[in-house]
């Protein structure tokens, strides 16, 4: 397996945690016995440890493990923290910075000595480490050469971006109203100036819309603390793994997913993941694992939340279906596994107060499913008894920018992702070749003169859809009136009304703000 990708993610994430750790240490230095600060510090170290373990960066995970021990003592107040202890953690953080940047490797003898002396520092009890300690390590970097990190990010309020977007659009509209801009009698010089101005404005607007995208990694991080707190409430140890950090999605959509996701986490922690003792007896690691994963496939964004807990007992759901919904064995045999598990999402199941292992599994899950449904997405559950439970949120599109071939049929502007297009060609009605069938959407779309043949075609790659009238083979040629070109599109979800139309997979906004309808090639009628 190629780990480079994961190593890169590890390094990015750890750098972030270490920066936050340094900030927290600065605070705790002034308030040595603040146990909630220690809890936060513990959290950062714990996250780095978990990721380092997964990649077998033992030097990093071993050191983190020792620092964690200290944090726990300070959190619980079983040891008193001194400024020397904080200094040692600062030194630990410094060497972690260096280890993270070198994928967990120690390259020089000097560094090796330093690492060992820090490790031996943490192996003592905090009270044994004092400022006068002979073994106190020399800091990795002296104060005269502090670690300088370049400032390449600024924080900005989301509402500010909205404001900027609004203003840009206002300027575009203003330009449209300016009489000179819309007249044909412009001098050639002025006309080219106006064109240039318009192009720049449109590009500016498009660029601004990109600011609304947030990386999934940053989004998933928002849950780290909540998960930790919920886990504590239930006396469970949980390691959170984030996959697909680099995928970007629109912040407004992510914001609406926060509550449903917290609900799912609560479910995983309270009912999925077993207590450390139970896990031990089942030969599982005492630390439960929650994986949050983002994947972008075709026009869909998939968010998966997986726990390695006890799974869902299907027979209990079947019992519920028989007793409460009066389904027969035959009805149940006709249901596939997904349908059975998704019973949990029905309001009826949520209200069922059964005093079984399942109780609580469904509480509120119907509300979660409804919220996601409202966003035009869907929620499904799969589970393996004793092994894991997985919640999959499917949202209509990844909400990012894709390239698409834009074309027109009648008065409609349509688009097909460039990935789905093999080639584009001219269509001649008198074509000799009768073996190739052309696909005319005019009639289906209800466009006047359905028999008119368009003059271009798009040769599409498509997976054979079930129940489609399209003949076998993946050589589908879709007729189009005009081909506008290969353009970047910002894809937005089609909304509740338009998502009823299976053929549409999303709405594409072109750089000039024009709208095109993105077609789902696999759902052609």
């Amino acid at each position: 397996m190629d780990l480079t990708k994961y190593e890169k993610i590890f390094s990015q994430e750890s750098d972030k945690y270490l920066k936050e750790l340094d900030d927290l240490l600065l605070h705790v230095e002034k308030d040595l016995s603040n146990s909630s600060l220690w809890t936060e510090i513990h959290g950062k170290i714990h996250s780095i440890k978990g990721m380092a373990r997964a990649l077998s960066f033992d030097k990093i995970s071993d050191l983190c493990h020792l620092i964690e021990d200290w944090c726990l003592k300070f959190q619980q107040g079983t040891s008193t923290c001194s400024s020397a202890s904080v200094q040692l953690i600062f030194d630990g953080s410094d060497i972690l910075h260096s280890l993270v940047s070198k994928s967990g490797r120690i390259e020089s003898l000097e560094e090796h000595k330093l690492y060992n002396s820090i490790i031996s520092g943490f192996q003592k009890s905090p009270a044994e480490v004092t400022n006068n300690n002979q073994n106190q390590p020399t800091p990795l970097l002296t104060a005269s050469q502090p670690r300088l990190t370049s400032i390449d990010h600024v924080k900005i309020r989301y509402s500010h971006i909205e404001e900027l977007l609004g203003l840009t659009q206002e300027i575009q509209l203003l330009a449209k109203r300016f009489p000179l801009f819309s007249q044909d009698k412009l001098s050639a010089g002025l006309k080219s100036w106006v064109d240039h101005y318009n192009t720049l404005m449109k590009t500016l607007y498009f660029q601004l819309t990109q600011l609304r995208l947030m990386s999934f990694g940053d989004f998933a991080d928002l849950f780290q603390k909540s998960i930790r707190n919920i886990a504590k409430e239930h006396n469970k140890n949980i390691y959170v793994e984030i996959l697909g950090s680099e995928i970007q999605a629109d912040i407004t959509i992510l914001e609406r997913l926060r509550e449903p996701m917290i609900h799912i986490f609560r479910n995983c922690i309270a009912h999925g993941i077993e207590s450390p003792e139970e896990r031990l007896s089942k030969h599982k690691p005492t630390e439960g694992r929650i994986t949050i994963e983002a994947k972008s496939e075709k026009e869909n964004l998939y968010l998966k939340i997986r726990d390695d807990g006890r799974g869902i007992n299907k027979s209990l759901i079947i019992k519920h279906l028989k007793e409460r919904q009066s389904l027969t064995d035959n009805d149940i045999n006709n249901m596939n596994e997904e349908e059975i598990f998704n019973t949990i999402l029905s309001p009826d199941f949520s209200s069922a107060r059964e005093t079984t292992d399942l109780s609580g599994r469904g509480i509120g899950m119907s509300v979660v499913a409804q919220t996601i449904d409202y966003m035009g997405g869907s929620l499904s559950i799969s589970s393996e008894l004793g092994r894991q439970t997985e919640f999959t949120i499917k949202l209509p599109i990844s909400l990012s920018v894709i390239y698409a071939i834009i074309f027109t049929i009648g008065k409609h502007t349509l688009a097909v992702p460039t990935l789905n297009v093999k080639s584009i060609g001219r269509f001649y009605d008198n074509s000799e070749d009768k073996t190739v069938s052309y696909y005319n959407l005019r009639k289906y779309l209800g466009i006047a003169d359905p028999e008119i043949k368009s003059s271009n075609f798009l040769s599409l790659k498509y997976a054979k859809p079930t129940g489609s009238s399209i003949s076998e083979g993946n050589n589908l040629k879709l007729l189009a009136d005009n081909i506008i070109g290969n353009r970047p599109l910002m894809v937005l979800p089609a909304g509740e009304l338009l998502s009823k139309i299976k053929l549409f997979s999303g709405i594409g906004i072109m750089e000039n703000g024009d709208i095109s309808i993105l077609l789902d090639v696999d759902n052609l009628p």
Binding site: E162, L165, G166, Q169, L173, K176, R177, T209, R212, R256, Y374, G410, K411, H412, T413, Y444, L445, G446, I447, L492, G495, E496, L497, L498, K500, I501, K502, L503, F504, I507, I509, G513, D514, I515, I517, P525
Partner: protein, 134 residues
Amino acid sequence: MKFFVFKVRDEFLGIESQYIHRIIDDSKATPVCLTPDCYEGLLYYRGELFDVINLAPFFGYPKKEDVENPRIIILKWANKKMAIIPDDIIGMIWMEDDSEDRTVFHYESHVLRLLNPDDIWKKLMGLFYGPNKI
């Protein structure tokens, strides 16, 4: 109670002012295929997409073709949004409301019917979206 009042043919209709997000007259909706007659199209305004509904066909009147720069009322309520096009816009009026669930008021010498965006939405959701069945 503050209402935003508009006309569809000879009917006076109103919507509670709290649902009115904006009124615009310089943008046009992009027509969308496979939608019901009252679905005027999509509007991309300030980074958001709105379904634009033409109220005349929505209430069963024939559609007026080629209205230049129709005024579009953008509505936002609960966590929903849409835009509507009436035939005419009257403006904001204030009504003394004596009962909470009133839906019909007297406005000058006319009858003013109060619309609830949720009801419009429900009816829209019940319409057929897809190819005409022949």
